[in-house]
Structures are given as C-alpha cells and as structure tokens.
C-alpha cells in the first residue's frame, strides 16, 4: 500500500507555496524562483481502477461544484463529457484482447494532465490567467481569465471547458488548495483501490515501476508508464496495461504534443504578423517621405471645369 498522507488539520496553516514559486505565467513573464519545489505527480493506475467514480464525486464535493443530473445514453460514462463542473471523468472502454481472448474493461480517469509544457498556458492571451508552479501544478486564475477559450485549443488533451454561467474556463486544479497545506488531491484521497496515488514525481515513477512489474508478471508484456515527453512529461501520469496503444483507452493521445497549429499561431505567426503590420506602416511612411503627397494641381481643377462647362 502506498502510505497515505495523514489526515488534515483544522488549524490554519501557512500555504507551503505561492506566487513566488511560479515558473510560468500566461502572456507574461515571471522571475524564475530562487529555489524550485520538488515536482509532484498524481499517478493513475488504470489496471487498478474499478470505475467507481469516487474521484468524480470527491472532486465535485471538495470544489463545491454542482453538476446537472443527465440521462443514460447506453453507457456508464456519466456525465458524458468533462464540463465546467466535472473536472474529472471516468471513461469506459470495452476492449476485446484478441491475443488472450479476454475481455478487458478499461476505465480511464480523464482530466487535466498538468503538463510540464502546458499548451493551455501557451495559448492563453490573458496575463496571469494560467500559471504554473515549480511543483508542476498548472492552475487557472479565474479573476484573470477572460473566457476566450484559447486554452481549450491549446490543450493537447482537450480538457478545459468554458462555464455557461460565468464564461470562464475551468479544469482540475490538482487541488492546489489542498496541496498548499500538505494534503493530496481530493480524488486521490477518495480512490478506494489506490488506483490514484500522489507524491513526488520521482516517487510516482518508482511506484509505477513496481506496478508495471506486477502487470508484466500477469502477462501484460506492454505494460508501461504514460508520461508523454511531447509535452515535457506530465504531472498526472497513467500506468497502462497496453502502454504501446494508449489510444484504446478512450482516445488517450499517443505521443501528444502541443498542436503544430497552436505552435504556429502562438509562435512564428505572432512575430511575422506584427512585423508585417509594422512593415506596412513603415513603408507607407517612407513612401510619403520620399514621394511626397499626391496633390491635385490647378490644372486638374481647370480640366474639370473645362469638362463641365456648359452644363450648369
């Protein structure tokens, strides 16, 4: 058993990290912190997940969120997608393993991956609306969020959602308020089978190795850790029975990266665009300086008068 974090205290405790620990801030720059926090991570072991949705409930409860009661559409996934209130969601896949002849019920807890290289933050135009702490948390700051939805387009995992109520973007905070007092995230705490564990990223990788060894001993030769390098690694990682095919887990991206479109948009285009605008302005100015104004001459007026003569 992975040793759980002790019970919380009801005495006020100073937060263990804050503004001075930011390493990225959307649409702005930060002074790099003098000392980095140890990176943390949440490890989701799909092979231990029973899909009970305790994490979903714990998330709603801790964050005071209310989701609508929906309908059944023929599957266990409820709600049917992430929403501004549902920051984490169990996605169920019935997978027939042709090699073993066994049915596998793959249940993946979807939610923010807290990428080391966060596409949402890259895409965000509002200074400080998305921040990244040196321990790996990527958080949305709702006072600063302008609700443009660029984060959604920036995210390689399709996670953030705009609220219908206040038009701001929402997603998992990794329970930043709990972490700040030394607790683990609410979903992790609730998880009955410890399919979710939480600790430093190094600890989580070690724990994942331990789990992968067990899975390999049970015939899952391709068991492995999902910590995609394309986004610099993530602070939410998965242990997968079939790490060679993450896409069978309800479309978990295989080697995700920030979309080249987003990269282009937020990278080169920005400079080229502004440069083009600048260039046009400068050219105009230069032209005017060199060629001078194009004035109507007396003669032109005369010609016009001549043309219209006798027409009054």
């Amino acid at each position: 058993m992975f040793t759980p974090v002790p019970n919380p205290t009801t005495n006020p405790v100073p937060p263990k990290f804050g503004e001075q620990d930011l390493i990225r801030r959307s649409a702005s720059t930060v002074t790099p912190p003098a000392k980095r926090l140890t990176e943390v991570a949440k490890l989701i072991d799909v092979s231990k997940c029973i899909g009970c949705k305790a994490c979903q409930v714990a998330c709603l409860q801790w964050n005071n969120l209310t989701e609508e009661v929906g309908v059944n559409v023929g599957v266990y996934d409820n709600p049917h997608d992430l929403t501004e209130n549902t920051w984490t969601l169990m996605r169920f896949t019935e997978y027939e393993n042709t090699e073993t002849g066994n049915l596998e019920w793959l249940i993946r807890k979807d939610g923010c991956m807290h990428c080391a290289d966060p596409g949402c933050l890259k895409a965000c135009p509002a200074p400080g609306a998305i921040v990244q702490y040196s321990n790996g948390i990527v958080d949305f700051v709702h006072d600063k969020c302008i609700g443009c939805g660029y984060c959604i387009k920036g995210c390689p995992f399709n996670i953030p959602r705009l609220s219908k109520a206040d038009s701001k973007a929402y997603k998992c905070t990794l329970c930043v308020d709990r972490l700040a007092v030394g607790q683990g995230p609410a979903c992790q705490k609730a998880c009955p089978t410890q399919a979710i564990v939480f600790g430093t990223k190094d600890e989580m990788k070690q724990w994942a190795d331990h789990r992968i060894k067990d899975l390999k001993s049970r015939g899952f030769a391709n068991a492995g850790l999902y910590d995609p390098p394309g986004v610099g690694g993530t602070h939410v990682m998965y242990v997968l029975q079939h790490a060679d095919r993450p896409e069978i887990y309800a479309g978990l991206p295989n080697n995700p990266t920030i979309s080249p479109i987003v990269e282009a948009w937020k990278g080169v285009t920005k400079y080229v665009g502004l440069a083009a605008i600048g260039a046009f302005a400068v050219i105009g100015f230069l032209h005017h300086t060199i060629a001078g104004p194009n004035r109507v001459t007396e003669e032109d007026e005369k010609n016009a008068e001549r043309l219209t003569e006798g027409r009054s």
Partner: protein, 222 residues
C-alpha cells in the same frame, strides 16, 4: 448603363472649383460604421493576439469584456461590410484596364498618373482593397464563429477550432495590412478624405484620379 462608371447618387456640380458628389450619406455612414468596427476589431483582436498588446484591453474595459465585445463587433462589421459590398461591388468588378493600371504600379507610386489608363470610379488599387477585404472579412467571420466558444464550441472539433484561430489571426493580419494601405492611400492622395467626410471631392481630384468616372458622370448627368 452596365459599362457606366457612375453610381446612383454620384453627381457633378459645375463651378469653381467643380464639386463632385462621390458618396451618399448612406454610403458614408455605412463606411464609417465599418471603419470604426474594423479599428475596434483590430485593437481588440491585437490585444488578444499578442501579450505585448494586451494593455489595449483597457480600452474595452478589461480582458473579459474585450473577449465578449470583439466577436459582437465582428458581427456588426460583417453586416456593415455586407452593405458596403452590395453598394460598391458593381463598380469594383475587374476590368481590362485595371490590369494595365496595376502593371504600372511604379508610376502609380510615383504619382505620375499621366501614364496610366483613365480610371473609373475605382482604381485597381482600390479594387484590390475592396476584394481582399471582402474575402478576408468572409474568412474572418467564418473562422471567428468557429472559434467563438461561448456559443459554437460544441459544433466543431478542437482541431477545426485550432485551425480556425490560426486562419483568423492570419487573415486579420492581412486585413490590417490592407487597411494600412487603404488608409495610407487616402492620406497620400490629398483631397480623398473629403469623399468620406463630406461625400464630395473636387473636380480636379476626380480629373486627376478618376477621369473616366468624371467623364461618364458628365455624360450621363447631362
């Protein structure tokens, strides 16, 4: 009339100097609504486009309001420009002489119009501005709607929305450049601005820059 360069509302008043009615009140109002929308769109769009210009959101009451207002101005622009389009498109249709005119861009830029073909109500440069704006605004409204998450997110895939913002910003940059050309041309060619303020230009201006238009006007309004 089809070949005539004269629009309804154009008129010529002999005198010293000759005064020519170039744009009706409606056309001017339409233009300025479009122009103001475009400027506001450019400012708000640039604010959201580049962090270095985010301060511009202050003009709109902050980031969130900028985000709310921008697409709505876009809608205004679209319909406003649609008005301009229907007003102006006929005389902006490309003619053989336009290509000749454009081929002699050097003379144009030098202000040496004697070597150019006689120009109708719009010269080829103006036509290029008109058509590029028409196309760009169409692109902008379409991509704008696709990336307007508040209302339309659910109809499009993430990939489509991503592509839409990229195209939207690209088109916007081009549109701003075209706009710069348009505004500059208005400033450089003295006597132009009054066309959109008072609706009138001098006969000399018309003679110099849009001689065929003036001639057609004189002929038809006889």
């Amino acid at each position: 009339m089809s070949s005539s360069e004269v629009d309804s509302g154009d008129n010529v008043h002999p005198g010293k100097p000759v005064i020519v009615d170039r744009y009706t009140v409606g056309a001017r109002l339409n233009h300025w609504v479009t122009a103001i929308s475009l400027v506001l769109l450019a400012l708000s769009g640039l604010a959201l486009y580049s962090p270095s210009l985010y301060f511009l959101t202050a003009l709109f009451g902050g980031g969130a309001l900028t985000r709310v207002i921008h697409p709505w101005i876009g809608v205004v622009l679209f319909f406003s420009f649609l008005g301009l389009f229907f007003r102006f498109f006929r005389l902006n249709l490309w003619k053989k002489n336009d290509s000749v005119w454009l081929g002699r861009l050097r003379e144009v830029l030098a202000g040496d119009e004697s070597k150019l073909p006689e120009v109708g109500k719009y010269n080829a440069g103006q036509k290029v501005v008109f058509w590029s704006m028409s196309i760009l605004i169409l692109i902008l409204i379409v991509t704008g709607l696709i990336s307007w998450d508040e209302y339309f997110a659910r109809y499009f895939s993430i990939e489509q929305r991503r592509m839409a913002v990229l195209v939207h910003s690209g088109a916007a940059i081009v549109a701003i450049c075209v706009w710069i050309v348009h505004v500059y041309a208005g400033i450089w060619v003295r006597g132009t601005i009054s066309a959109m303020t008072r609706g009138q230009v001098t006969g000399g201006w018309a003679w110099r820059h849009h001689r065929k238009w003036l001639k057609d006007l004189v002929t038809t309004k006889r």
